[in-house]
């Protein structure tokens, strides 16, 4: 079957098997390997991408279901070479070690801040509760998302602070 969708703002069109899962479509058909593929069972959350602005586990969504819709992956977070504040937060607060869970955490974190710009720690922990990290114990991920909430200007805020100090 033929599918067309917007991925990170660009229209893509491909012929696929109906059984193609969105995560494999993104990685194998589009070559966007920032989205990771983990448990296959919608438990680990590393495959989370945004579908029309809502985070979904792309191992449990058919690419066919995204036909005509808008997908955003971790590659779509930066704009014009500037990292999204959520990405900068993971740098500032060491929100990753091995990095396997990170693409999913970034998408979920971004969506959380889009609808709730000042989440409490509990709200952050709740938001990422469907995603597994085996390195950080989650503490630095929570701080990374808090950093992004506190610095909506992102990397620009870091430069500002550097200049001032």
């Amino acid at each position: 079957m033929h599918v067309t969708m917007s991925v990170n703002g660009e229209d893509v069109a491909k012929d696929i098997e109906p059984r193609t899962l969105l995560v494999h479509f993104i990685r194998d058909d589009l070559g966007l390997t920032g989205t990771h593929w983990g448990c296959d069972t919608s438990n680990c959350g590393t495959c989370v991408v945004s579908l029309d602005g809502t985070p979904v586990k792309s191992c449990t969504v058919l690419a066919a279901m995204a036909d005509g819709h808008a997908v955003r992956t971790v590659e779509g977070l930066e704009t014009a070479g500037t990292l999204d504040p959520i990405q900068q937060g993971f740098i500032e607060e060491h929100g990753l070690q091995c990095g396997f869970c990170t693409p999913g955490m970034l998408i979920t974190g971004r969506e959380l801040l889009d609808r709730n710009p000042h989440p409490t720690e509990l709200e952050i922990r709740e938001a990422i509760s469907g995603q597994i990290c085996r390195c950080t114990g989650y503490a630095t991920i929570v701080r990374a998302i808090q950093w992004a909430a506190d610095h909506p200007a992102g990397a620009a805020a870091v430069e500002q602070e550097t200049v001032q100090s």
């Binding site: 079957m1 098997e17 109906p18 059984r19 899962l21 494999h24 296959d40 069972t41 919608s42 438990n43 959350g45 989370v48 809502t54 985070p55 979904v56 586990k57 449990t60 969504v61 058919l62 066919a64 279901m65 036909d67 979920t108 709740e126 938001a127 509760s129 469907g130 995603q131």
Partner: protein, 291 residues
């Protein structure tokens, strides 16, 4: 890599279109909404439909609205919508409390009430919620619509009254005065299936006695309601002793299995304890409503 067996995909453009597709392809077709139960089963080849009918574009089935003394929920309403509904939280706290522990937040973005009920997994929370609330299921086919209670809807594990050429379109929940409800689940970690869960609903009479009560349990080998324990409550003033007795009877009525989530003894204990907790909360809430 887990990949479903090959199938043909059809995206329904309207409810009539979905029913026409189901009628045409018969037993070889399955409806997919959120897909978070069906796609895993297809990956494991426990389900192998030749045709998958996608109803995600049928936005007319995605609603929560009050209609007289009923709350009507469209089959395509997502778990997240139900969790965030202030109307549901006010009328049926049992559903809000259950939605908080259905899978995880990302899964709740996709999963639907219709999908949960039609999957009819014995460990599924909303089946218990709908049974306790006395909900009715509206099922549509090419020839018309029928409305049935949850006891008739659920025919057994993974089995419902929905025929191959029919589709669940709506869930109707009666709104009753001086009533409230609660749900509590014990799970090993976020997103896991329940070790055990219980839901309870009560209606208080003007004199403070229990006019009506409903108890349901999840994942402990008893589908539908615990009518014996309900009968103990009805007509009496709610006391700790009475609630303890209802919990004891629920504990005796369930028929759980020992598995990696717990022993029979532990699950029996949970069924009784959780029943007492939800009844106490439901009664306290119903009293506040009266005030």
């Amino acid at each position: 890599m887990q990949i479903p067996a090959p199938f043909e995909y059809a995206r329904a453009t309207s409810l009539d279109d979905a029913i026409a597709l189901l009628t045409r392809y018969g037993d070889d077709a399955l409806v997919v909404a959120g897909g978070h139960s069906l796609l895993p089963m297809m990956k494991l080849r426990l389900a192998r439909p030749d045709w998958l009918i996608d109803i995600n574009e049928l936005h007319e089935l995605d609603y929560v609205r009050r209609h007289g003394d009923e709350l009507r929920i469209g089959a395509l309403a997502r778990h997240r919508t139900l969790l965030e509904s202030a109307e549901i939280a006010a009328l049926f706290p049992i559903m809000t409390e259950a939605e908080r522990v259905v899978a995880d937040p990302i899964v709740r973005n996709r999963g639907t009430i219709g999908g949960s009920l039609c999957q009819a997994d014995p460990a599924e929370d909303l089946s218990t919620v709908c049974a306790v609330l006395g909900a009715q299921a509206v099922i549509r086919s090419a020839t018309g619509e029928r409305v049935i209670g949850m006891d008739e809807f659920h025919q057994g594990p993974y089995e419902t009254a929905v025929e191959f050429n029919e589709i669940l379109v709506e869930v109707r929940i009666p709104i009753r005065p001086r009533s409230s409800s609660s749900y509590e689940k014990v799970e090993r970690r976020v997103g896991d299936w329940a070790v055990a869960a219980a839901g309870g609903s009560v209606t208080l009479a003007a004199d403070g006695t229990i006019e009506d009560a409903a108890i349901g349990v999840t994942a402990v080998g008893l589908s539908g309601r615990v009518t014996d324990a309900e009968a103990v409550l009805i007509g009496h003033r709610p006391t700790d002793a009475l609630i303890t007795e209802a919990g004891r009877m629920t504990s005796a009525a369930v028929d759980p299995m020992t598995d990696q989530r717990g022993s029979v003894e532990y699950k029996r204990h949970l069924a009784g304890e959780l029943t007492q907790r939800v009844l106490k909360r439901a009664i306290a809430r119903a009293r506040r409503q009266e005030a």
